[in-house]
């Protein structure tokens, strides 16, 4: 399962130093194996809490290469996260529940601008985004949620 999917705005709540996400009955496809080609329709639910700590790093673009990893700007805090999940294949052939935590592994949260937004002044909308990462805040959407909307298959450095 390596997908970007759109979810309702209210699935994410930012409060103080934490960001929580609650997703229920998300339709996805289980790729089974790393870079697998077989995909089985499945349903996933999960809850995760990200907690930031310390002082933020101010990120400035250090490369003008649009394909590079360092052509973005923002403010990022180190963050831990933990969560629980349940998943089941729609054909009933497999289901599982589990929990996970970052426990020392890398994580971060904050605000970011990339692409055409790099270099945009930190005023107005972007300043609002910066502030949203700090105080209690929940952003409402004017866009309809479109569940599910898998956009592309991709891989991770960790097994699922």
């Amino acid at each position: 399962m390596f997908w970007i999917v759109q979810i309702p705005d209210d699935a994410v709540v930012i409060s103080g130093n934490t960001l929580t996400i609650h997703v229920a009955n998300l339709a996805i496809e289980d790729e089974i194996a790393f870079l697998g080609t077989i995909r089985i329709p499945s349903t996933l639910s999960f809850d995760i809490t990200y907690t930031k700590s310390g002082k933020p790093r101010k990120i400035e673009p250090t490369s003008q290469d649009p394909l590079g990893a360092f052509h973005w700007a923002g403010r990022m805090w180190m963050a831990t996260n933990s969560g629980t999940f349940s998943v089941s294949r729609d054909d009933g052939s497999f289901s599982a529940t589990g929990s996970f935590s970052s426990s020392g592994m890398f994580g971060e949260m904050g605000t970011e601008k990339n692409g055409i937004f790099v270099g945009e002044d930190d005023q107005g909308e972007n300043e609002s985004a910066h502030e949203a990462a700090e105080p209690a805040h929940s952003v409402q959407s004017s866009e309809p949620a479109t569940l599910p909307a898998p956009l592309r298959a991709r891989m991770k450095g960790t097994t699922k």
Partner: protein, 127 residues
């Protein structure tokens, strides 16, 4: 049915097929990413970086987002844990990322399934 009628029907079907897509703004993946060699398999290019420190990561300040032309909030982190199906226990790893904010993506435009840039707001999770 004459050729002209068939063409008109085909054009109508194409137009109707595009209607549900209009108004929805599709986020565009970042153009860069990691290239993974695969033993015995094809090399894989993935539109994603792996922020972090260490030989298998792309650097502390590597791009954490999976969508380009965006301005907003991002959260990510690598984890480890366990799962069970009731009979077996599995070790798992996750890299789940949350994106929320403004983005400029692709919106369908009537015609030959073309698209145009459009600004939108949305929340996404990468699993």
């Amino acid at each position: 049915m004459c050729t002209r009628s068939k063409l008109v029907c085909a054009a109508c079907l194409l137009a109707c097929g595009c209607l549900p897509l209009r108004g929805q703004v599709y986020p565009v993946p970042i153009p860069g990413g990691d290239i993974f060699p695969s033993v015995g398999g094809p090399i894989t290019f993935v539109n994603q970086f792996l922020p972090g420190v260490g030989t298998i990561f792309d650097g502390l300040n590597a791009e954490p987002h999976g969508i380009v032309n965006t301005s907003g909030i991002v959260a990510m982190g690598y984890t480890a844990g366990t799962a069970t199906d009731g009979a077996n226990t599995y070790n798992i790893g996750t890299d789940i990322r949350v994106y929320q904010g403004t983005y400029v993506g692709a919106m369908a435009a009537l015609g030959a399934a073309g698209s145009v840039s459009s600004r939108a707001h949305g929340t996404f999770v990468e699993i």
